[in-house]
């Protein structure tokens, strides 16, 4: 079972409340999450990664319990060992592209040096066309270069799962095609679950053997059935 969850979470800001209330279990190893802007997709992904704590319920990924309120289980993000792509990248501004990508490979209290040698880093930089900008800092990058750097940084580890929040939104169509292919290959090679948020129908076609549609923090049953019918 890829994902098995039953969680609720309320976000408050002033008088406004946003309530996420989900019970879902996915059986495929690739899940695409769809839904209008503000429906809770990113919040859900953050909870899976351990960046946000659900108010109650439980959350299992690939058979491992990540969170269970009743049992008092709540793994730290470090323990969850997932690759996570932030919707707005969260690149480290004081490190170059190369250092950002190599970040998780270097253990200990120091950051990788600007010239850190690593096959994995070279591979992803090259593959994502970042080789020419590898010594630039994030603020010297174009939007798409930033997104690719963030993706490379997430993928360079050998994670237990891939959680990607709109990974191709800032890329041109050609790059998207190339990177979708790369990502699919990686997922199949590592044989780990992939959960992907997107607004792009192409992504749905390439990745999904299963989709989850959200709306206002809940499952959009109507659309869910429609899609299931379409696939079947």
């Amino acid at each position: 079972m890829l994902l098995d969850l039953d969680i609720s979470k309320t976000m408050r800001s002033g008088n406004r409340e946003f309530r996420l209330d989900l019970s879902y279990s996915a059986s495929n190893d690739r899940l695409v999450i769809l839904g209008p802007s503000g429906s809770g997709k990113s919040l859900l992904l953050q909870m899976i990664a351990g960046l946000l704590k659900p108010d109650s319920g439980y959350l299992k990924l690939a058979g491992r319990t990540l969170f269970d309120q009743k049992q008092g289980v709540n793994l730290t993000p470090q323990q969850r060992q997932v690759a996570f792509l932030f919707q707005n990248y969260a690149l480290f501004p004081h490190l170059s592209v190369r250092q950002n990508v190599a970040f998780s490979l270097r253990r200990g209290l120091f950051n990788p040096s600007t010239k850190v040698a690593s096959k994995a880093v070279d591979y992803w930089l090259d593959n994502f066309g970042l080789e020419p900008v590898q010594h630039q800092r994030p603020h010297e990058l174009s939007g798409g270069q930033r997104q690719r750097t963030a993706l490379a940084r997430a993928l360079v580890t050998e994670p237990r799962a891939l959680l990607l929040d709109e990974p191709f939104s800032a890329l041109d169509p050609d790059l998207r095609i190339h990177m979708r292919k790369e990502l699919r290959e990686l997922q199949e090679r590592l044989a780990v679950p992939l959960i992907l948020i997107t607004h792009d129908v192409e992504d749905v076609k390439v990745f999904s053997n299963e989709t989850l549609c959200l709306k206002d923090g809940q499952i959009d049953q109507e659309r869910q059935q429609l899609l299931r019918a379409a696939i079947a």
Binding site: G50, L51, P77, A90, L91, H94, F103, S104, L109, H139
Partner: protein
């Protein structure tokens, strides 16, 4: 002249140690106050600022009361380890540290609070330990703000004499720092000596501060991520 060099090296030793201690203490306390939430946090912050508000001589007097041989703490130090801080350069370090401490922790707290917590989150998901996150993400991003405080603290420690004088005395060649010498020269009406000493202190301070801000990493333009 030789006595000037002795006083100078003593001053640098005292200010250097006090700054080093304050880097550790100030950054530690600043980080703690920035990242934990508890009742009375702001009150604690304010109380820790109080060394600033006390005339140094008075602070020195309280320190004397605290670590002197007649105090419980001072007596324990002396009985257990044979340590007597009064009239030693280590005593001067303690005085300078206490006087300059608020200068480090307060800007450090503000700098830590300005660090984008999402970047720490990003490092967490990348599997890096909390300690490593502190050294690899938080500290480098807060560093410019912290440095401002550290440099102020160094200057203050170098110039401090009120509290130092009280705790360490003014023993030429042993605890007489440059600024105490300046003070004495002014008191004695030796304006020329005083001026010369002030020029030396200032030059040393300028050199140290300039070097420190050169060595420190430059402005990180966080403009766009």
């Amino acid at each position: 002249m030789e006595s000037v060099w002795i006083a100078l090296s003593l001053s640098l030793k005292v200010a250097g140690w006090a700054t080093a201690l304050n880097i550790v203490l100030g950054i530690g306390v600043g980080f703690f106050l920035a990242r934990t939430r508890f009742f009375g946090r702001d009150l604690l912050d304010t109380l820790l600022t109080l060394p600033m508000v006390m005339p140094p001589t008075v602070l020195g007097y309280y320190l004397l009361v605290l670590v002197g041989r007649k105090s419980a703490f001072g007596a324990w130090l002396y009985d257990s380890f044979g340590i007597n801080l009064i009239f030693t350069w280590q005593g001067a370090v303690i005085a300078a540290t206490v006087v300059a401490f608020p200068l480090v922790f307060k800007p450090a707290r503000a700098a830590f609070e300005a660090v984008d917590s999402e970047l720490e989150q990003a490092a967490r998901v990348l599997g890096v330990s909390e300690l490593a996150i502190f050294f690899r993400i938080t500290l480098p991003l807060a560093w410019r703000g912290i440095l401002a405080g550290v440099l102020l603290a160094f200057a203050r420690a170098l110039g401090e004499f009120g509290a130092t004088l009280m705790v360490a005395g003014s023993i030429p060649g042993k605890t007489q720092t440059l600024s105490i010498a300046v003070y004495e020269a002014v008191q004695a009406g030796k304006d020329d000596t005083a001026n010369m000493l002030v020029v030396i202190t200032s030059m040393v301070c300028v050199v140290v501060l300039l070097t420190a801000s050169r060595l420190a990493p430059g402005r990180i333009n966080e403009r766009a991520r």
